[in-house]
């Protein structure tokens, strides 16, 4: 809970035109909108392929936000909160990878209806350590503040379609501790024990912070929404969400 927000008051984030993809169901009924937030290496298209239409098919208005180019954590958080507040109802935030770090910080500001952190990169050093072990050549520049290059093997399992890609990005860094979520939303952490970006221990830590255990999808790579078995995690997210929503009403 940060009450004095001098940064926001005296030096507001410069607005940019945000790129949001939407897939709307025929009738969302009472379901809250779901906003998917990828890490800066991905665009909204990472979700547009499978998860957005799937969520819409199950009656959720589904949105995905492309992170702004070269943004700092504060700017990404600003964009997520702005997008959430622009939607008609209280939003469920789903962050993936470094997008989960952005969502975790956005939760300290915006009272989400619920939150899902998928393969969350909250622990920068753990991620860097894994990257160095699995793909040292791609990771060494990042240690000196350069870009972190991911190999296909880190992101996807062997069974994934070949056109799914490797990518590189500068890690979103933050010395700020992850804040306590405002409004006490139900939260879920999902991931894979075979993720070569986020180690299992880091998943457990993140889940424990939110008072639970991670939901695991063995055999999948880091990019849960693009890997061959992409239906399993999104089904699990929506099942969990449906249960939480009915428990609250």
């Amino acid at each position: 809970m940060t009450i004095l927000r001098f940064d926001d008051w005296t030096d507001p984030v410069r607005p940019v035109k945000r790129d949001v993809i939407a897939k709307l169901p025929e009738d969302a009924g009472e379901n809250p909108p779901v906003l998917f937030v990828p890490g800066p290496g991905h665009g909204a298209t990472a979700f547009a392929e499978h998860w957005l239409p799937h969520a819409a098919g199950r009656g959720f208005a589904a949105y995905a936000l492309t992170p702004r180019d070269g943004g700092k954590l504060r700017e990404h958080v600003h964009d997520v909160v702005q997008t959430a507040a622009s939607l008609p109802r209280q939003v469920v935030l789903v962050g993936h990878g470094e997008g989960a770090l952005v969502v975790a910080h956005a939760l300290g500001r915006y009272p989400a209806r619920a939150a899902v952190l998928a393969a969350p990169v909250l622990d920068r050093w753990a991620t860097m350590g894994t990257a160095l072990r699995v793909n040292p050549l791609g990771a060494i520049p990042a240690v000196f503040g350069g870009r972190l290059r991911w190999s296909r093997r880190q992101l996807l399992s062997a069974g994934a379609p070949v056109e799914a890609y490797g990518r590189s990005s500068r890690l979103v860094t933050s010395r700020k501790p992850v804040p306590k979520p405002v409004g006490d939303p139900p939260a879920l952490v999902i991931g894979s024990p075979d993720d070569r970006v986020v180690p299992r221990k880091s998943l457990d830590r993140t889940a424990a912070r939110l008072g639970g255990a991670p939901l695991l999808f063995p055999g999948m790579g880091h990019d849960l929404m693009l890997d061959a078995a992409w239906t399993d995690p999104i089904e699990a997210i929506l099942d969990w969400l449906t249960k939480e929503l009915s428990a609250a009403s």
Binding site: L4, F6, W9, T10, H78, Q82, Q90, R109, P111, G183
Partner: protein, 447 residues
């Protein structure tokens, strides 16, 4: 006269009075803390003062925010970042409407229903009598708590000026748009933000304009160094510069940008900067300098077609607009409940908590050097957390109450101000929020 003698018990529900900005944050934050809420609103829509359709709204066509957007928005629901620095009042209304929709608050509001009375019935519970705004049967319901958010800018405070006046006198509450000023001779009374806004509009539309103020003020421009001036001010507050240093900087900055206004016939301020509610208007000095506005002192009396001024001058306006503010009024509560003194000034801890009734609080009864919405937000979080703590851990609640009673008033209330009705609820937003933060930390639950 009561049609239904039986009282409907709403058990743990909290009653919120008013669905303006303060009422809406109260509903949202009470719901977030697990309370059932019934909100009563005399109008048929949300927005309170910001809804120009409401009888009691003080809006005029050109009203814009005085504080800039980042210092005005709710902390957990920002205004769109492509809005201007100083949005128009219709944008603020649409923002409040979207807030209500976003958090599903409408389902908890009873529109067209006014609160006739609220009476404590012991054990912290309240009997709230309501009836439809149009009249009709009264209904009494019992609540576990009462949160008052009825606003304080709707009951015009009209100055008593002796003598008869042949022209027209209206309060700023009745001023709506510039058509009322066109080609007339206008005297605007009052040096607040409204008085200055209207004087500027008159300068653009009326034939002649006099602007009467009781004292000289520090007129801050809306922009300093290319930034909204409240944002510049907050940079100084962030550095925790002592007040005398900030006062010196303020004098220097105003001296270098706005310049010396006594040249235009305004009296020099009789107080230091930060000792009155900030007046932010870039255009007033501009029109004074162009001779479109004539600065005049206090009005002493009316005399037929003329208005007599404190310096003996007489002017002959055909329209007098009194921009002399509003009174806080709680006609549904007995005065002793809010420790209201003979002048009508309630005495509340943090301008929010009733001292003798732990389940009664007021939201938004503040004037600050930044927007009131964020202050009202954190007030209502504190109120919700307090009411929650009372039910879950009465022992801790008692300890918190004990500790709060020792919190020095100077920490949260601005005590060094010109002592007029206008500054009863004046706060420095940073000091105030620090105090509310202190209270919230004391109440932090063990989870």
């Amino acid at each position: 006269m009561q049609d239904t003698p039986d009282i409907a018990d709403r058990h743990d529900a909290i009653c919120v009075i008013g669905a303006g900005a303060g009422g809406l944050v109260a509903i949202k934050n009470l719901r977030e803390h697990g309370f059932a809420v019934d909100c009563y609103e005399r109008e048929t829509s949300v927005g309170g003062a910001w809804n120009w359709r409401h009888d009691r709204s003080p809006m005029y066509a050109s009203t814009h925010l005085i504080s800039s957007r980042p210092l005005t928005e709710f902390p957990d629901f920002p205004m769109p970042d492509d809005w201007p620095d100083y949005p128009h009042h219709t944008q603020v209304l649409s923002y409040l409407e979207r807030y209500a929709e976003h958090f599903g608050l409408g389902a908890h509001i009873w529109f067209g229903t006014e609160v006739v009375s609220a009476v404590p019935v012991g054990d912290g519970r309240w009997d709230v009598t309501t009836r439809s705004t149009g009249g009709g049967a009264e209904r009494v319901q019992r609540y576990a708590g009462l949160v008052v958010a009825n606003g304080h800018n709707w009951d015009p405070a009209k100055p008593e000026i002796p003598g008869e006046f042949r022209g027209q006198v209206i309060h700023a509450a009745a001023y709506q748009d510039t058509a009322q000023l066109r080609n007339r001779k206008v005297l605007v009374i009052g040096g607040g933000n409204t008085g200055c806004d209207i004087a500027v509009e008159a300068a653009q539309q009326a034939a002649t304009v006099w602007h009467s103020t009781r004292r000289g003020y520090w007129y801050a421009p809306k922009y300093l160094f290319g930034r909204p001036s409240d944002q510049v001010n907050d940079r100084l507050l962030r550095l925790r510069l002592p007040l005398p240093v900030r006062q010196w900087l303020y004098r220097r900055t105003v001296g270098l940008t706005v310049g010396d206004l006594t040249r235009f016939g305004l009296p020099a301020p009789d107080h230091k900067p930060y000792e009155t509610h900030p007046i932010v208007n870039s255009q007033l000095p501009f029109y004074l300098a162009h001779g479109r506005i004539t600065a005049v002192p206090d009005v002493t009396r009316f005399d037929g077609a003329a208005v007599e001024l404190a310096d003996g001058r007489r002017v002959e306006p055909d329209l007098v607009i009194t921009a002399t503010g509003y009174r806080a009024r709680f006609e549904f509560l007995a005065p002793e409940i809010l420790d209201t003194d003979a002048d009508g000034r309630p005495d509340l801890h943090l301008h929010a908590f009733a001292r003798k009734h732990p389940t009664l609080a007021v939201v938004g009864l503040l004037q600050g050097d930044a927007g009131v919405f964020p202050l009202a937000h954190w007030q209502s979080v504190a109120i919700a957390r307090w009411l929650r703590l009372r039910t879950t851990d009465p022992v801790r609640a008692a300890a918190v109450q004990q500790k709060e009673s020792t919190r020095p008033v100077g920490g949260w209330s601005r005590t060094k101000v010109v002592h007029t009705r206008r500054h009863w609820f004046e706060v420095d937003h940073v000091n105030y929020l620090r105090s509310v933060e202190g209270l919230l930390r004391e109440m932090e639950t063990s989870k």
